[in-house]
Assembly symmetry: C3
Homo-oligomer: 264 residues x 3
């Protein structure tokens, strides 16, 4: 695949990406969307989430600092998005760390249509039913093939599943993209996982529905190409994050084309 | 007008600026106040907001991630500020995006004394009663003269109205300051609008009440002069924001005097 | 004392530091923990805080943007930590500013076991019963000896007390460490006080219980050595904060050993 057209679509269409996300990385989720040239909005009041989701290009849900009330707002927003066929991305952040996170994630998956489930290896494994434990929000070794796990969850739920890590698996019932861009420095910055989810929301918000799988993979590739460019100019995790946003803002066609590593 | 004395007043008096603001840009709102040499405090529990507002130099309210409960805390804080004649600034962030935001903004304006209403063009137009729509929290074209809109709202509500954009209009029933500092890069950083509101709160918190209009204009000018200095040293939105805070911290008399663009 | 072994312990054991903290500095609290090589997690829902605290290496509580509900979640988390003898650190952020903060802080101290109480001079003085007032979250002059105040509170509560400022006092009923690292620039960045608390949580989470006093002092010293290194490369508060995280990430044995200023 060629990821560049998906970046072009984001910059042209400037999708409005509605988030109900966590309080730790909420600024970075917004800034990553804006750095790509799109438009983030964060809103969680039950009285307005349906209106906001209904005017958005995509909806990003992230349970990083969930509460029961917040999950209810997520459901209202997702139902409004579902009715208008606006894509919904769910980051099951911290699934496998507490039974509350597992229960609320599954409750969401049963109550509304989620188009893309995203997490790290142990989060997705837990949602797929494996007996694994996530250490806070950090992935642990799952002891099984991540592609298989993603694939079986995608089939079970009839949706796209994304596992991020050294390589990212972007999977639906029939096919897979493996994204091999990125840099180890990303793991030293709080919120790169959350940002990846917001990027997926941005890219699927700018592409037609049948391209959703490719758009998700393209978004991850672009984000991680920017990371590869940023790491060359940084002296640690904080300067890396700064350069990452700057690199995304200036991401060039020739860099994307020459650096993309997406299989197949 | 000469904006520099207003900056001096901030640095000398170090106003305590109490915020009830949104969760996206809360850090940057605090840091912008601190970078100017003043003292930010964020507190929203209904049990304490009256006490905190009562000891503050000014109160900044921002509905960016509002809930019904949060609006109730804002009212309690604003009433406490009103009783002590502490200036209250309201950022109607996202007004025009959902009817909930419109309703809650108007409810606030009816329930308490707001000294300064601040927003982008479509937010203020909506609060002024025009049938416009804000795209999330991003301004849309209003199709009418912004100065006229601000002026009519200022007369109707008997307060100051600020519209930020390429040029900023700082208006009361009788007069107007137009601030023409700033740089387009500000629009690529999440939160510059919220920060502008916090800066207005900081400057009006350091000046006597009759100077409120001039202090608000002076604050915007100083903030945007710092942005002009910052943009020269940046490579994108994230490094711009870093340099912006650094520039504010070191803002020099000669730069302010030579760069200020405030009409009349 | 020699602080370096405590840094080594953090990097080897990678403690999981569970936070219930404020919404202003929540990202920076997480990033400072991660920059030291440890693992932060933020979670506050009453349904999951006991599970999360129970799997953590330490628990950090910070009342910077407290509400009544949030304090209840803190108590549940702290009780779970207490039962497993996981160290609990409480930052009494803003104590002395409102009676609500004082009341809730004392309520916490009576309801659960707090191993380390941390604040600035006027916050700790207020918790120790003095009639002082904190200006928002900024320390005011207490007019009494900080060491004496910390020491008497430590005796009364049977815990460790930390007062941060130009010099930091790390005190229990019998002994004291005075940490004299750091730089004045730290006072121009929002959240360095909160970060210091998270650092204390990180270091005590990596050391055995009898070393808690020394680990807390070592954490502050390492954090402030990184600040001394960062300030040399910065142009203001925002670039300082960026370099601070980068310096922490790369903190070298020889720098720690040659720069540490901890008495006795």
């Amino acid at each position: 695949m060629n990821v560049y057209p998906y970046l072009e679509a984001v910059r042209e269409k400037r999708p409005l990406v509605h988030h109900l996300t966590n309080w730790v990385t909420i600024f970075d989720c917004a800034q990553v969307v804006k750095s790509f040239g799109a438009s983030p909005v964060m809103a969680h009041a039950p009285e307005e989430v349906a209106d906001m989701a209904g005017m958005a290009s995509s909806l990003v849900l992230n349970i990083g600092t969930l509460t029961s009330e917040f999950i209810e707002s997520m459901k209202i927003a997702a139902l409004a998005a579902n009715m208008k066929r606006i894509p919904v991305v769910l980051d099951v952040c911290g699934a496998g760390a507490t039974s509350f996170r597992d229960k609320k994630s599954l409750e969401m998956l049963d109550a509304v249509r989620i188009d893309i489930i995203k997490g790290n290896g142990s989060e997705i494994a837990r949602i797929a039913g494996l007996e694994v434990r996530t250490r806070g929000v950090d992935a642990t070794d799952v002891g099984a093939d991540l592609h298989d796990i993603a694939s079986s969850l995608a089939k079970k739920r009839g949706c796209i599943v994304v596992i991020t890590g050294k390589a990212d698996f972007v999977v639906d019932a029939n096919s897979v993209y493996i994204v091999q861009n990125g840099d180890e420095m990303m793991s030293h910055v709080v919120g790169t996982g959350c940002m990846a989810t917001s990027v997926i929301g941005t890219f699927v918000g700018a592409s037609p529905a049948p391209d959703m799988l490719a758009a998700a993979a393209a978004g991850l590739s672009c984000f991680e190409i920017a990371a590869e460019l940023a790491v060359k100019k940084c002296t640690g995790p904080a300067s890396f994050k700064e350069r990452l946003f700057d690199s995304i803002f200036h991401l060039k066609k020739e860099d994307v084309i020459s650096m993309q590593k997406v299989v197949p």
